[in-house]
Symmetry: none
Subunit: 216 residues, 2 copies
Amino acid sequence: MQKLLRMTHQREIILDEIKKCATHPTADELYDRIKKKLPRISLATVYRNLEIMSEAGLINKLEISGRQKRFDWDLHQHDHIYCMQCHRVDNIDLADKKDISLPTGENHGYLVSGCRVEFYGICPKCSAQSKKKGEREKMACKSKCGTKGLSDKQRQVLEALAKCKEACGSKDIAAATSLEPKQVSCQVTALKKKGFIESPIRCKYAITGDGKSALS
Amino acid sequence: MQKLLRMTHQREIILDEIKKCATHPTADELYDRIKKKLPRISLATVYRNLEIMSEAGLINKLEISGRQKRFDWDLHQHDHIYCMQCHRVDNIDLADKKDISLPTGENHGYLVSGCRVEFYGICPKCSAQSKKKGEREKMACKSKCGTKGLSDKQRQVLEALAKCKEACGSKDIAAATSLEPKQVSCQVTALKKKGFIESPIRCKYAITGDGKSALS
DNA sequence: CTCAGTGCAAACGTTTTGCATGTTT
DNA sequence: AAACATGCAAAACGTTTGCACTGAG
């Protein structure tokens, strides 16, 4: 009935790495870091173990804004603040948390087991490089994706990739260019079609020879 | 720069349908309903329009627990309660919301633009048909995993025990916490190992002094 | 006549699964 | 031997995009 949880080498490294993170890493951020120590580990293993270890109560799976799941080694009750731009998540300590309670009659018959509080805003790093983000700018992509030249954004992405030794993910590109992830993936798609970048690994991109010559 | 937003038949129906929903539908729930009126509509159109209309401020896109995005026609400021089992989302009105504020010095340099509060638990329908969905139960592992913190589930169990005068069984705990009995026994094992609970009688558990201090 | 909006299919990024192989008890 | 984990590939999932076309302004 009870299952035994074995402490394998992989699990040890995963746990180790998550505890080293000041942030609240996503599964693939962790995967990237872990791969350096355990090059043959599989992304599935990381996912599986994060799930299993959060079920076992060794770590916490965060229910938080944003696309990807995030994990937290700090099991103390605390809440989070979320950057709407780069999706970074920081801890906050809410002293008066106990004052937040559900007004009677408001629980709709629910059996309430807890409460999350999440502040959101723009993190210091993002507000520093506060580029105006022009409402619905994604349209710019559509109109320019067909041409053979480079749009400003495409050039930014390509230049960022030219600086990387290894293939890197769209999040890295976004960070290096101050573009939004959505915009990045749009540019990446266009650049791939032009043959200026390639994707040696799933979700990772590198500049091609054609791409390099297009830059000059 | 300003784009014209055309009110097409599809958009009208989508808006119509979302306003009819008492709940907070996901894109594909809406799609299913809309298809009955507009059989040729595409899921992509639904997604596109939900996105566009929420950008335009006609509806709200919810940042909420769960896998899928949810949409809300009610533009008033309100919070939500979330069923951990069926992922249903209901509205709650938090009268004392204004009391929740970020302690100074806790904002980590963020430019805070708001705060979400989300209660979670089990909705009446789910707790009625307290279906056991065969959740995996795992034991905390033997060696290195002995952190001193508490997972959400462990905290629930401990809090339930703190309220009891006498030692009580795992079924009682399960009832008090909305956890499944299987999960309870898993948490109990982990808590015992941490010294936070004891078992004065076979299959009965009580909180220890250590456990009480761990709670605060 | 235009250009925003559509349906469709295909792709995307993230997560989960099936399966053969490996490792612990 | 039984139970648990792993790596890999492929699928599943919710969502977004490219494209050729339609239709509102």
